[in-house]
Amino acid sequence: MDAAEKLLLMFFLLAAVATFVFVAVAWSTRLPEQEQAEVQHRGYVIRGRWFLGLTLGLLAVFFGTIPFFPYLAAAAALQPAEKVPVIAMQFAFIMPDHFPLNRRILFEVTSRDVNHGFGIYNPEGQLIAQTQAMPDYVNYLAVTFHQPGHYTARCLEYCGVGHAIMQKDFTVEGASPAPAPMPMQEPSGTNTVPSSNESNPFE
């Protein structure tokens, strides 16, 4: 079962449980009528438990997701990496064509004109990492490619009528040399903590 199937399964299970509750409650109108006061008496007890359970559940999920946030700790940001600038513009990406396997890449993503997105799709067509490409700012995205093959970067923020054709194909190869550094202007604004796809549950 791939990541997309797991995600859909989780959503469908939750949606099915919710829908079942609604259908069951609607079905109950076929049963003999119950006094509203009696319904409320029992309902308030269930509601209290639901509220408590949902609150604790949501808080648990919140704390459970924190380790998977793509915003790296300052220590992780200092790890060695191949710095690769990515410049987005209507309607192309300026970036290298080849990347090495199993080497940490730190994409420095910015835009020359409007807001763009920088989404990386693996050879199976799965979206494995992304960040926004903003004018006047640089977003740092750390990615380590563990699988050789043909990858595609697609724009994931609407940027004009050529938005759908804005993509860049690149390959990841074991023996490929390191990408040549590209000239770029010093950004006027940066974040200090790079971001990463390295600890996400989809990888």
């Binding site: 609604f22 009528e33 119950q34 509203q36 997105g117 979206l127 759908a164």
Partner: protein, 502 residues
């Protein structure tokens, strides 16, 4: 609290009809626009050029959000007017400003081919291949819509403050914290529908002020291209306004549940402490949820990303534990007559919850990495706008029509409408969810695989749903045609109950 008599010719009903009919008319025009785009993505309309596609997308997005908001505003205005006198000409002025804005958006998109989308992220409106005048017309139109919205928000806040005797009364502060003394004094808390009215008015004003700042900034940039605005600042402002405005639609419509579901289930619904606290919570969280739109902007201060996820999660609590749970308690083993009005309104709750589940998944940062700006986003907001908001509005309209009609919709007709509308809607929405899970980007005139294949199913689903909606329209017309003037006007009798309770 003095009740205002309500009848078919009263200004209250007139304003509601004006808002509802115009809002639903715009919805009816935007539905085929959406179908056209989905058919184009399916590859069945290859002649649709990208500039027209994106102009249609801009029109569809702005049109639908504004139309559903107008429906909700009209119905809530009417409900509040049952409790206190409201200035009808002012409500008509607000409506006029909004409709002028809608006409302007139509001109900017269909004539000027403005395609900066409903969210018009700076600096795109000034960097597109459309003429500069269309950008100006679009921005001015949105400012007009916002002006109408703010007038309405002022009216709602003023009405609830006057009805409840100030801020403490509007927030039911003493009712929650000093309940024995409050009840001993013979005081009444605000009616349930006053809570969404105050909350949406209050949050609406704050969002409206942000929108004014945004609109003025962009208009200045339009007039003087030398002006430079910080893209991150304007992005925050844009999503703060757009997200809050879109969210408030369903919160306004919660008032219809508080009045409509008791009518359908023949039970009563009153303000409780839990309801009040739930609305306090929603009032705060609705303003802080928008941060989840900027998860992929890593330059955004990190603390806001964490806060965005927590806030998004917690907003599920008042919705499910208060409004939805209360509605379920009203229905449980009641004598509900499952008319079309009741079916639509109840089904809208399912759309709200299921759309909310999709939204909560997307609001989880680790999942957002893989879902941000994929079709998962339109999946969840179509679920609660189409399967929630629109169904609430349709449910409300049908409850009104059914209450006055001598005609009763046959069982076959009800099943046919429900099966076509909901069956088609589910297939249509599944297209978005599957596309999103498989990483198909949103807002692509031509989608990468498997987008076009999925869009074919979605298009068929949308056609089936529209057939169901058409049948619903015909049935609504027949109910209206068979109106029985001697029947008691609903929800007029509730007004009498309110006045007797004093």
């Amino acid at each position: 609290m003095k009740a205002i008599p309500s009848n078919n010719s009263s200004p209250g009903r007139g304003v509601m009809k004006l808002y509802l009919i115009s809002g639903l008319l715009v919805v009816a025009l935007m539905l085929p626009a959406g179908l056209t785009m989905r058919a184009a993505q399916a590859g069945w309309l290859p002649a649709l050029p990208p500039d027209l596609f994106y102009a249609l997308l801009t029109l569809h997005g702005a049109g639908m959000i504004v139309a559903l908001a107008v429906c909700a505003m009209g119905a809530l205005w009417f409900l509040i007017r049952r409790h206190i006198e409201l200035n009808a000409p002012l409500a008509v002025l607000a409506w006029l400003l909004i409709m002028l804005g809608v006409v302007g958006v139509v001109v900017a998109t269909l004539v000027g081919r403005f395609a900066g989308l409903y969210t018009f992220l700076y600096p795109l409106p000034f960097d597109g291949n459309w003429p500069g005048w269309s950008t100006g017309v679009f921005l001015i139109s949105m400012v007009l819509v916002n002006a109408g919205w703010m007038i309405w928000s002022f009216q709602m806040i003023g009405a609830v403050l006057r009805t409840c005797g100030g801020l403490r009364g509007a927030l039911a502060w003493d009712y929650v914290w000093h309940k024995p003394a409050f009840q001993a004094a013979g005081r009444q808390p605000p009616p349930p529908e006053a809570l969404p009215a105050f909350m949406t008015g209050f949050d609406g004003l704050i969002a409206g002020m942000a929108a004014t700042l945004l609109g003025v900034s962009l208009l200045v940039r339009w007039l003087d291209p030398r002006v430079v605005i910080d893209p991150l600042w304007v992005k925050n402002l844009t999503y703060f306004w757009a997200h809050t405005f879109a969210n408030l639609i369903i919160y306004m419509l919660a008032a219809l549940i508080y009045v409509g579901m008791p009518y359908a289930t023949r039970r009563t619904y009153h303000t409780s402490t839990v309801l009040v606290v739930g609305w306090w919570t929603s009032m705060v969280l609705t303003l802080t949820n928008y941060f989840h739109h900027l998860y992929m902007d890593f330059v955004q201060p990190g603390i806001l990303q964490y806060f965005g996820e927590l806030s998004s999660y917690l907003s599920a609590l008042p919705v499910t534990a208060v409004t939805v749970f209360s509605a379920l308690m009203l229905v449980w083993r009641s004598r509900t007559r499952w008319t079309l009005g009741a079916i639509f309104m109840y089904s809208g709750l399912v759309g709200w919850v299921v759309g909310g589940i999709g939204a909560e998944i997307d609001a989880s940062v680790p999942f957002n990495v893989h879902l941000h700006n994929t079709l998962w986003v339109p999946a969840h907001f179509h679920t609660y706008l189409l399967g929630g908001c629109l169904l609430f509005v349709m449910g409300w309209v049908f409850l009104l029509l059914e209450s006055r009609s001598a005609r009763e919709t046959s069982g076959i007709m009800r099943w046919l409408i429900a099966a076509l509308s909901f069956g088609g809607m589910i297939v249509f929405l599944l297209g978005f969810y599957f596309g999103g899970a498989y990483g198909v980007p949103r807002r692509y005139a031509i989608e990468p695989a498997p987008g076009p294949f999925i869009a074919q199913f979605a298009t068929i689903g949308a056609v089936i749903m529209l057939i169901g909606f058409t049948l619903a329209f015909i049935e609504g017309w027949r109910l209206r045609w068979n109106r029985a003037d001697d029947r008691p006007l609903w929800p007029g009798e509730l007004t009498e109950e309110a006045s007797h309770g004093e």
